[in-house]
């Protein structure tokens, strides 16, 4: 696979075996330095796709080695090329992908092998765990059939009894109780976490040497995520395989990886062992990434520092260092020539790709020096204490039930499910209340119940002192909506793609019967308020980045000068480096406009940063409620304790030393006691 065309445009790039060699020197993680020969060696891996917009270079020369028993974490945001890297290791890229460079498994070259040849490796020597467990299993076949198939492909001689015994063993290994019965169940009868366990069982069935896990926990709740990471650790221990863990979540990496590769725009920008990367991040992007995330385990002291701009699109990678447009240190050469990985410290094998490497090394620059100074948190309208301010939203004993229907042909009612179970809370003016919970806890339902402005099944909702059950008609509802607005999770779907921004922002104002002139001037104000150039009003939502779109959604929600803003996971769909900017904006707006927020989220780190008080929801009930710091530092309810203990913390030393707690049947148990025992 010659890839000359690409090389000529991007400067010469030779496999840097002399640089890669430093890998062997690393060793400040829990497992020390790698020993022996790597099981897999990736050299100068390049993947490009032919698309309508031209050729897209998704991976542009990546090098790394994998050792048995070690975990390599690949971290990056969307479009960094991390998933494409993973798929190219196992030969599952689409047909229009062109792969260049070398991937050697146990000395054997994999690049250039046909689908049939690769099939012999897949599932046997190299296996893969995918992101979305809900769609990863064939819905037509039972769990047992799918597991057996995996075994039979590579061991056609296995007998029926033997197969079944091995399947039971595998399910037990990944922590599925009652494995004998569960073998005959279909995937749809399993929850997401259970299905991911099955996917892991499939991946380890043939005792592979390399396991590739592509965002294996991203689609899962935080407590399930913690369990799946534990199962993954068991899987690695059982098989002794090398694991590649691909994720955008630094917390996940901190607890599981031995070595880390940070990817940006299709290349590795920094590579180090786990403790080094967190102690001494030396590439400005890595620094920014680590600095931008709120810390779940410490109280918020200052504003977050966002990395400005957006991750580049792979179809249009900026000239020079791809990070240069966003880098606070960039100058001259950074905009001209793309840097290559160089040893930061020859003794440690810490590799960094940055033109400013020498400066960073000599001056011991860290996040604080590279990025603009940390600002203190904006003063939150301190003159009146929170609880003396007027209550703007009060929910009392709210109940919402849904009929449970059997899926499929016979939709009979199986009784009702209580999605929101006697929930009560109140929000004062200028206060942020966070509603925390996992999926299905009823937090979003609560929010929608408030937004619907109809008399609830049970209990009451008072908005600005007005009980919504007393709203007589749609006109009164519309008037109340002026003061009560909502922001959704995904700005991609909350803005009509066919409407220019002007019309998007005008919509709530028109609904409130504003005059055209007032609308016009208000839109100008709003654009300023959220930091979007007012000249862009004629553009369509698709012409903005995710972060900008969310700013526009915020502007729309603020249009009618509401007193209360309900936020449904407003930053969950954004890239890590973008989230900080939105959080800052929300904090600023609150101070400036004295709005109250009802903030629904599952990300506890963000909640700790932004909210004044917290209500933890579990199975429709609020199990604990109180001041944010109080709840985080001294949780009372066992579920809250388990939830807090499940958050992955972006600090490897903390991660390694703590014991997770798991909430089971109303009790707390330590997670190590739940780890599947091998003898079973």
């Amino acid at each position: 696979m010659a890839e000359k065309a690409n090389d000529s445009t991007r400067g010469t790039w030779v496999p840097q075996d002399d640089v890669i060699r430093y890998e062997l020197l690393e060793g400040n993680g829990p497992k020390g330095a790698p020993q022996g020969d790597p099981i897999m060696s990736v050299r100068n891996l390049k993947v490009s796709f032919a698309t309508e917009a031209g050729r897209v270079d998704a991976v542009r020369g990546v090098n790394f080695d994998l050792w048995r028993g070690r975990t390599l974490g690949i971290v990056g945001e969307s479009g960094s090329g991390k998933s494409v890297t993973a798929l190219s290791l196992i030969g599952l890229l689409d047909d229009n992908a062109k792969v260049g460079g070398s991937v050697k498994f146990d000395g054997e070259e994999l690049v250039g092998k046909s689908d049939e040849q690769m099939a012999a490796f897949r599932g046997k020597s190299i296996s893969m765990i995918f992101q979305d467990p809900l769609s990863a299993l064939t819905p037509m076949f039972t769990i047992g059939e799918q597991l057996e198939e995996t075994l039979l492909i590579h061991n056609p001689q296995m007998g029926k009894q033997e197969l079944r015994a091995r399947c039971v063993e595998l399910l037990r290994m990944v922590g599925i109780t009652n494995p004998e019965e569960r073998l005959d169940a279909y995937p749809h009868e399993f929850s997401g976490g259970m299905r991911q366990r099955v996917v892991i069982a499939i991946a380890i069935a043939n005792d592979p040497d390399v396991i590739i896990a592509d965002e294996p926990t991203t689609a899962l709740d935080v407590t399930i995520q913690a369990q799946i990471l534990d199962v993954l650790a068991v899987a690695q221990r059982e098989t002794g395989a090398a694991v590649v863990l691909i994720t955008h979540d630094l917390g996940v990496i901190a607890g599981t990886a031995d070595d880390v590769l940070v990817m940006y725009a299709g290349r590795a920008v920094e590579r180090a062992s786990i403790d080094t990367i967190f102690d001494q991040p030396s590439q400005p992007y890595t620094m920014g990434l680590l600095g931008a995330v709120p810390k779940p385990h410490v109280a918020a002291e200052h504003r977050l520092v966002p990395i400005k701009g957006n991750p580049p699109s792979l179809a249009a990678i900026p000239k020079g260092c791809p990070f240069s447009p966003r880098c606070p240190m960039a100058s001259g050469k950074c905009f001209e020539v793309e840097p290559v990985l160089e040893p930061f410290d020859a003794a440690e094998g810490h590799l960094v790709s940055c033109h400013k490497l020498a400066e960073i090394r000599e001056r011991h620059l860290s996040f604080q020096e590279v990025y603009p100074e940390l600002e203190p948190l904006p003063a939150k309208w301190a003159e009146v204490p929170r609880d003396q301010r007027p209550v703007v939203l009060e929910v009392k004993d709210l109940v919402k039930t849904f009929p449970i229907q059997g899926k499929g042909l016979i939709r009979r009612d199986r009784g009702t499910m209580c999605a929101v179970d006697h929930v009560s809370f109140k929000i004062h003016e200028g206060e942020t209340l966070a509603l925390v919970g996992e999926s299905g806890s009823g937090k979003s339902t609560t929010l929608m119940q408030i937004m619907d402005l109809v008399r609830p099944e049970h209990g009451s909702i008072e908005v600005l002192g007005r009980d919504i059950a007393t709203l007589r008609n749609n006109r009164e509802r519309r008037e109340l909506r002026r003061d009560l607005q909502v922001i959704f999770q995904d700005p991609m779907s909350s803005l009509d793609p066919r409407m220019p921004i002007y019309d998007v922002l005008a919509e709530p104002l028109r609904a409130q019967r504003w005059s055209a002139k007032d609308i016009n001037s208000r839109i100008g104000e709003l654009m300023h308020l959220v930091g979007i150039n007012p000249d862009y009003v004629d553009r369509f939502p698709s012409q903005f980045s995710g972060g900008q779109r969310q700013r526009i959604a915020i502007a729309r929600a603020l249009a009618t000068r509401p007193k209360i803003l309900l936020l449904d996971e407003p930053i969950a769909s954004l890239d890590v480096s973008i989230q900080a900017g939105i959080i800052n904006l929300l904090e600023d707006l609150q101070v400036q406009l004295k709005i109250s927020y009802l903030f629904v989220a599952h990300d506890l780190a963000v909640i700790r940063h932004i909210s004044d008080s917290v209500a933890v929801m579990h199975l429709g009930k609020i199990v604990e409620q109180g001041d944010t710091e109080e709840v985080f530092t001294n949780p009372q309810d066992p579920y809250t304790k388990a939830l807090l203990s499940a958050i992955p913390i972006p600090d490897p030393k903390v991660e390694r030393s703590r014991e997770r707690l798991v909430y089971q049947d109303g009790k707390l148990v330590s997670s190590s006691s739940l780890l599947p025992t091998l003898e079973g």
């Binding site: 599952l92 099939a119 897949r122 990863a136 064939t138 198939e149 016979i410 009979r412």
Partner: protein, 330 residues
Amino acid sequence: MARFVGYIAKRVASYIVMIFVATSLTYFLASAFMSPRSNYESRTPRPPQESIEASLDATNLNDKTPILQRYQRWLGGIVTRWDWGQTPTGVSVNEEMSSRIGASVELMSLATIISIVVGVSLGVYTAQRQYQWQDRFLGGMASLFMVIPTVVLAILIVFAAIEINQAAGSRLFYVTGLSSYEGGNPLMTFLDFLQHILLPTVVLTIISSVGYHLGQRTYLLDEMHADYVRTARAKGLTKKQAIRKHALRASLIPTAVSVAFSIAGIFTGAVMTEKIFAIHGLGEYFINCINNNNIHGAVAVAAFSGACTLVGALLADLFAAALDPRIKMS
């Protein structure tokens, strides 16, 4: 199981209500747009007025009787005696219908089976060769056959058959009816049947296999790109194996559902094909009803088609439930 029977019973009951309303509406529509009176008035010599009224009254087709009264009498006949009324000439609609359903079934059964087999095979074949020349060629043919009016297709095939007959100097293909052999030799009878059924079957097969072809291709392509196919490949199956073992199975479910619908269609026949090949099936009967102002006949055909459609819908549900483990029957 009891719950299952209960469910089916409930479903059937709601279907009966639907058919009742739809058939009633059709009755009113037909009564508004058809005029059996003109059958008599256009006769030469024109029969005396009293005799016209008497005949119309006897068949319950007199437009001078209030429509609701006629409707009541018509409905009463169906409910009490399963009597779907009479034609303007006084013949029982029940009798006329029953003889024609048989002809339609003879015509449609073979064509339906062949078109399912051909269509689904082509769909699977082309989906696996997406954008290759086979796919492009067969897809092009399919869209050609999809847009050509049935009449044109049938006429061209008839034309070609006649040319072949002339060139061969003997009647290889018959272009009208379903049989013409009068002898007692069963082999000859069968051969004669084949000679008659061939051309209409070709027409029907072309028309309906196109749908199965394009449908199956789309379903399989959808499933081919599903995540679970990638999982199957990650286990060590080649792409082709993964498609055959995993994607194909799922893609056959929607096809099976549309097959269920077409089974019911066997009984209602095909209007255009029957008309062109002079096969005295239900479709042709309907057109005759329309042309002869046979209100009761037309409504009976419509009601029968409606019943078949709903049986098809019920079958489709059952097929889906039997094939898809995500849908549970009880």
